[in-house]
């Protein structure tokens, strides 16, 4: 059912005003069942399988079961996202397992300076040059 929540692992993000999955879902699908204190995906047929909820869940309580319309059962693709890399484990229906690790960012989260060390550039509102140009472009701006 695209993303689903494992009852045993979900703690409803305890005292937060909203759960992490509620915060992040780009399609507003994750909600908290306040009686059970568990999150759930309210409209699985609108889920993009983007894994934003899976990646952000602090207790690894969310997984994805592939769209049943066209995927046989048995496969699991699960990420572990750290501050600078993501590790994927891919479990096949035939039980074979593959693992991959990829970098996700080269600078720590929260450290971004918009101008990134480039000269901010012109003060001229009417110029076609944009912020940090021409230095960030590395060459002169194209003209007809």
């Amino acid at each position: 059912m695209p993303s689903f929540v494992i009852n045993e692992k979900c703690d409803g993000c305890k005292a937060q005003d909203k759960t992490a999955c509620q915060y992040i879902c780009p399609n507003d699908l994750m909600v908290l069942d306040k009686e059970k204190n568990k999150a759930y995906n309210r409209a699985v047929e609108m889920c993009w399988e983007c894994y934003s909820c899976v990646k952000i869940c602090p207790t690894q309580a969310i997984e994805v079961r592939g769209y049943a319309d066209f995927m046989p059962l048995g496969a699991v693709v699960q990420p572990m996202r750290s501050t600078d890399a993501i590790m994927w484990s891919v479990k096949f229906r035939n039980k074979k397992i593959k693992r991959f690790k990829f970098p996700i960012r080269t600078k720590p989260e929260g450290s971004i300076e918009p101008d990134a060390g480039f000269d901010p550039g012109t003060d001229d509102l009417k110029s076609p040059l944009l912020r940090t140009e021409p230095e960030s472009l590395g060459t002169e701006l194209y003209k007809k």
């Binding site: 507003d28 993009w48 995927m71 699991v76 891919v90 593959k98």
Partner: protein, 629 residues
Amino acid sequence: MNIENFETIVVETDLLILGGGMAACGAAFEASYWAKKNNLKVTLVDKAAMERSGAVAMGLSAINLYLGLKNGKNTVEDYVNYVKTDLMGIIRDDLVANIARHVDSSVHLFEKWGLPIWKDDDGNYINEGRWQIMIHGESYKNIVSEAAKNALKELGENGRYYERIFIAEPIMDGDRCIGAAGFSVRENKFYIFKAKSVLDTMGGAVHVFRPRSVGEGLGRSWYPPFNSGASAYFTLKAGAEMTCQEVRFVPVRFKDSYGPVGAWFLLFKSKATNAKGEDYMETRAAELEKWAPYGTAKPTPANLRNYLMLLELEEGNGPIYMHTEEAIKKLVAEIPDEKEAKRKLKELESEAWEDFLDMTISQALNWAAHNIEPENTPSEISACEPYFISSHSGASGAWISGPKDLAPSEDYHWGYDNMTTRKGLFAAGDASGASSHKFSSGSFTEGRIAGKSALVFCVDNPDSVNLSNDKINELKQRILQPLTTFETHKNYANDEDVNPNFIKPKMFMFRLQKIMDEYAGGASVNFKTSKPLLEKGLEFLQYMKEDAEKLAAKDLHELMRAWENVHRLWQAESHIRTMLFREETRWPGYYFRTDYPEMKDEWKAFANCRWNPETGEWEMIKREIKELT
């Protein structure tokens, strides 16, 4: 829900950025800088959380637009010619050139902000194809949105962003856009944003046509299902002229999960064949001559590659396979040393999986579910359903003013870059038309161009805008009406979804998708349509417009769904009307007019449209193509 309990919040700003995707982030980054210099306010409104909103929410495995101007790799003219060929001659050279001349700057910023870009031993970006560079892009959107938020922070109190606010309607004062109205999807709050200029960057449209998968897989559209036509609705309702509303995009992707094929075709040099192993790009090469000069140019336009594949399927020659196994074998065979070849195989395997895991995780899951290892087994590819996305190989969006120094004449330039034909209303990303192939980097870049330009409009028009309380109340009643409708009638029937007094958003969407699929050339009819079919479809859309007044919502989430589908309906109507207007077939792999099966010289022109807010009538406008190169 009783709408009497809804608080009304009025936010006043100078520049209002609608959307939170790549174009919106580019606009926030750029406008903040200029706003600080001019002591102006910038406000951004996103329907989701910027960290993971818009089409790049999941990440990307490549940046599809980078010219390498500083190394003399390509020229701006090269790019314009490439895009023009791909779109069968129907593009605005000035707009494409404007994005292309700035885009490298954006990519260099992304890298400095921390986006890992693949590099060779000499420190040069690794190209996937001529214009595409490879990235480790799982956190692409996280990085770009952080830069945008930090740019807004530089403005202190004058820079703000709102998340989880859904924008339903533009606010107009005559021919000037003065803001937008919407609601929180989390609290009972109705929002009015008053602004001196408004930038529409709310993405393209999905779920206008019936998807191929209609169970859980409904959501596995190639472009995200949360991009629901808000951009096009906003500019249409404002009375702005639109362009290329007929130029949908039908991507060919790995079947069902719609994983990307770019790395396979371009980086791994893979081939696609029919079930008999025939390369239809070769066996059907003669067909391409009918679509010259575009059909005979290289690379073959995306829609024509689709078309040749569709012809194979019509003749019963499916399934169509991407021969991943052959491509990998060939790449490994190029390495004589056995140990080195083994290492290469491992590297290619990792690259192949990362391509999916970075941007279409569902495709990795699909491979695992079918026990597919790309080095051993080929995979099926297929045409998706039609989408509206001008940042890729489609072109639908608002007709906007080009830059003064590049625009060929006054009808392409009327004062402010990226301003629509309505004063103070700007568009970028999927919201602006006839400037295809901007992709993530170009959308961000166009957001920058439009953000600066819209800020200049604020400087030139410093007087605050007026909006009466009556108008605010009228908007509130109308936008929240689906809640009222549900509240009024919910007790009549014992099923909250089946009630003769209203229609719920989900069924409304299904009705729209069925009409569009069957009459307007959807996937189930192999993208074929004709005047009688389109006219019938248009007739059925009129019933939908009437029934849209009876949309009902039990909660805020459904209220958002109700408005998303009103937006889709307008996208659909402008699409049908423009396909009717253009009496030819120009993009046969996107849609085919069976009554006009050929491309015509007289239609080497823009097919524009405008909904007139004064009369409620649609106007169709043919505009000349003026070339830069």
